[in-house]
Symmetry: C2
Subunit: 612 residues, 2 copies
């Protein structure tokens, strides 16, 4: 079993269910585990703002600074809202659960669909942005960006199939490396700007001529692109249960640290690029973060390469976050009958393997379809995130209204502000990015919801038909007929005949006559070897085996009693080597297929195994 | 059943076995039916000689004329030999039959392998040469030659699957059209040369500079290429039985007419191209026959287009010849256990459909692999033909020696001359074309022979293991255990349980425990619905279903008596729509696969069909 060994080599030996265990995380480790998605957005959010503004010329890029402050405000509002959510759901409050519990089934499914698109996009965007960090440092790799991205996704998929735990220690190193290098870069940049004024000259950048006036729409579109900085902020609220007790308190404190870091880093990078006049350069495909790092540290500096490497690593961790989130969401949806059951199965390594594989395939497909370019993926991104934010905050509002604990009016006000802010931003994002790709997400989410509902209806239908309580038990079988189709008289046929005689007292052998010359020989041999079982010869003028046999079984079925069952016992010899099957007619297989969708008939193969 | 309707549309309704009938052919019709392959070689044989000679410069092409006379002599010798063969085998004497009967099994298989390669090559060469006739007249089509060739092969394949009879009338028109137009062209050309001397000037042709001295090897290579003129000459000897009686006499006379036509046309075309100095022009991809026809009739003349059209048609008929020959040879080999049995099955339309499809696929593959260019295929061609000629003639010699009828010494001398001539030519062809592609055929033929023998051994092995006489009948089954694996307690399970109880008095239900919380519920429901059948719970720490089940069956098997059989009765619900299968775990299918190669266990699915 070669494939079996390959599987073992890639993902390791199976783990027993008893080995399932959860590590409780300290705040320091939890920040590392849950912040990668949110913090890593810093690597591309500023750039995406600039890429929109630059359409209105080099003057318009100055608008990036006030836009980044607006986005920082939004981060503060959203994190305050989630601060309440983590206290309301100490066992973890993902958007699907919160929306489902408080708003109802349909909003829950919409949140689930929005999250699903977003998980896939997170992997695609993070991977391509991570590869861009590398190709900025080593431009010769740019033509190979798709291959590198696919290799990264494959690696992350395999690692997750092996069951990489969200172990704090492994995650802490790249997360804190990224935080430290970015904060150092910002501090150095601010110091240089403050003490030296202008930065040392970089090679001149190509600023394309303005092709667009600076309209309100363009400014809002730039704002929407920058809102990708908020993706991943909800991760802590999904994972409250893995914090050390008191879970909610620790999660809330971690959220506040995340908010401070996120705002500092995003505003910091934007500030430096603003002061130094850095704009994305489409000719060199160099990222804005790389340009900023080169301005601050100089291109050949080891600090520059450290920034690029740390950016790549945190983006891979961000992609990895989806590989934890999506399979878990899919398994919850599968348990609720909204996704295929297979997503709820724990694989060999105690992970939801099917969800991991599907996520890997879908995101790899997106990377290829969008040419491995982050910018082309961005218009699809964040639409789902903000829909999920809004539904989650609305759900929390309703929850406070229902429970009415202490200070409930204040809580309603805070989450209401969050819901309103994210709701408005959702509409802005959907409207400004619509023609650039968001339409696809807005089309896909309702289709996905319809799919969830269709799957749910299917399982309901199956359950009602399988139910013993509504239908009652099947009738007892009191008569049993067996039909043995034969193509000759040999060992395989006699084994099948013996089996048929062991299960039924009413056995008939059936021979489909293609060549009348053969019939006499078959009859004669049956006389000798057929144990007295009756043989029926069916003429087949068109040389079909299935047709006359089906007609015969139909006739038998017409006189079948309700408590009688008909079994077709098929002699089938199994060659020693699989390829030897090519040398035989596979009539047994064709008969099995022909009867597969026919009611009331059971087909049994009696294998006669040949020696090599 | 959409595929079913498409099949009906393409190949028509099935025909009953009783509709099988053979048309007896007059000499006039038989010539049309059997000559297309042999005569159509005229369309490319001269050109292939010139293409080799031109490597030694424009002077060397004069050698084509004596070479064509040598080939004409060879045609006379071979046809005289076959004249004897048709008298010796009035029921048809293909090379496989003649070699097998007289020389033994191995030479017969070598002849069969040689013929097989040759049938495939005939389709590829004839189709590409036919397309070349069209692209010579309409050069704009040249880039589309592969598509046109594939379309032609598809058309011929479908026509043969429908069961085009070798009906004389349909074949007579293009065959006689070709004969008449070519003879007219030759007569006109000879008349013009005789009366006018030099032909009207064509546009100057590109004669490449000599890159090679005119060596004996090059001359022999040119001769080998010209020997493609002999391909198809054996067709009449394969089909003696369809002539009107006296079959052998009529076949013999037809052979002589074929010889006269073949020699006249081949020598005639070569003569004109020789006198007019026509050489193949690689720049324009125009065929020599097209150049000759343009020289004789003028490029815009309707006669020119008639020649090209007739050439295309006869080459399509030549390809069609293989679609009659190969499936018939394959069916004979299959009946003799040297090819898979499927080749001996008469399809819906009373033709050997599998042989037709395989031939179509293989020749289409060759056309694509060789870029749709006749010249590149030629080095592979004729090797097999001459091997088959030689074996057939040698077989006939031995037959005369054995039977010793009247004039047997003379007959031995004639066929001996044929065998010697074709034997020598075989060696010449193999040697001169070896590095240009013949090596592939010389490698493939022994591999094919080894394949035939492996298939034969397999069938012998199966037959001995299936034999009742050597092994004796199987023991009577006296005890029957049934095992019903269950994943829960529902209608599907109870149907399977009822079935198991109807076939055995010793039924055990087996539940593989993945989640211990579920077990209590299953036990409780089994108590209520399980009809008192014992339930065994198998723990599965690694969550595998197959593993613990397999272990359990192995344990049961260890205590199985020789006259006892174990049946695994699998509850399987069949969704109303095929795609609904995606929503279920397919555990039943996996169990079936796992037990497929296991001895002594029979697996029965009990389908429970769900309503839509």
């Amino acid at each position: 079993m070669q494939s079996f060994s390959l599987k073992r080599l890639l993902i390791g030996d199976p783990l027993s269910t008893a080995q399932q265990a959860y590590e409780r995380l300290t705040k320091v480790k939890a920040l590392a585990v849950f912040s990668s998605d949110a913090l890593s957005s810093v690597a591309y959010a500023t750039e995406e703002i600039l890429l929109v503004l630059i359409l209105a010329g080099s003057g318009a890029v100055r608008l990036a600074w006030p836009l980044s402050l607006a986005i920082a405000g939004l981060i503060a509002v959203v994190i305050t809202s989630y601060y309440q959510t983590v206290h309301a759901y100490p066992k973890g409050g993902g958007s699907y659960i919160v929306a489902h519990d408080n708003l109802g089934v349909l909003p829950g499914l919409v949140a689930a669909a929005a999250l699903t698109t977003d998980y896939v996009l997170t992997v695609a965007v993070s991977t391509t942005a991570g590869v861009a960090a590398i190709t900025s440092a080593f431009p010769a790799l740019y033509p190979h960006r798709i291959v590198i991205a696919l290799a990264s996704i494959t690696l992350i998929t395999i690692a997750n199939l092996r069951g990489v735990r969200e172990s704090g220690t492994i995650f802490a190193i790249p997360s804190y490396l990224f935080i430290i290098t970015f904060l150092s870069m910002i501090a150095t940049g601010v110091y240089r700007w403050f003490s030296l004024g202008m930065p040392p000259a970089l090679e001149p950048q190509h600023v394309p001529p303005a092709i667009h006036g600076l309209t309100l729409f363009l400014a809002l579109r730039a704002f929407s692109s920058g809102c990708t900085a908020l993706t991943g902020i909800e991760a802590i609220s999904n994972g409250v249960q893995v914090f050390k007790p008191p879970e909610s308190d620790n999660a809330g404190k971690t959220l506040i640290i995340l908010a401070i870091l996120s705002i500092t880093m995003f505003v910091g990078v934007t500030f430096i690029s603003h002061q130094f006049g850095t704009v994305p350069d489409e000719a060199t495909h160099e990222t804005v973060v790389s340009l900023v790092a080169r301005t601050v540290f100089g291109g050949g500096s080891p600090f520059y390469f450290l920034v690029q490497g740390a950016t790549m690593l945190i983006l891979m961790l961000a992609a990895n976050t989806s590989f934890n989130g999506f399979p878990r969401l899919a398994s919850i949806l599968a348990q609720d009958d909204y996704m295929p059951r297979q997503f709820a199965l724990l694989g060999d390594r105690l992970v939801y393997s099917n969800g991991i594989i599907i996520l890997g395939l879908l995101s790899a497909g997106l990377v290829v379809a969008f040419g491995g370019q982050t910018t082309r993926l961005i218009p699809l991104y964040a639409v789902g995130v903000f829909m999920a934010f809004t539904l989650s905050q609305m759900g929390t509002v309703l929850r406070w209204c229902r429970l009415r604990g202490p200070h409930w009016q204040l809580k309603v006000a805070i989450n209401g502000l969050g819901a309103a802010a994210t709701g408005v931003v959702s509409v802005v994002i959907a409207a400004t990015k619509f023609i650039y790709g968001a339409w696809a997400v807005l089309l896909f989410i309702p289709l996905l919801v319809a799919g969830f509902q269709a799957i749910y209806r299917h399982y309901q239908k199956v359950a009602s038909q399988l139910s013993l309580e509504t239908v009652g038990p099947p009738p007892r079988i009191r008569r049993h007929r067996a039909i043995v189709p034969i193509a000759g008289v040999h060992q395989g046929v006699l084994h099948a005949l013996e089996y048929a005689r062991s299960i039924s007292e009413d056995v008939t052998a059936v021979y489909v006559e293609v060549d009348p010359d053969e019939t006499a020989r078959v009859r004669e041999r049956w006389e000798e070897w057929g144990s007295g079982v009756r043989l029926i010869v069916l003429p087949s003028p068109y040389r079909s085996i299935i047709g006359p046999l089906m007609d015969y079984v139909n006739k038998v079925d017409d006189i079948r009693r309700y408590d009688e069952v008909v079994t077709i016992v098929l002699p089938q010899f199994v060659p020693a080597q699989w390829w030897e099957n090519l040398l035989h007619n596979q009539t047994a297989l064709l008969i099995r297929l022909a009867f597969l969708f026919r009611s009331n008939t059971i087909v049994t193969d009696v294998p006669y195994r040949l020696q090599a």
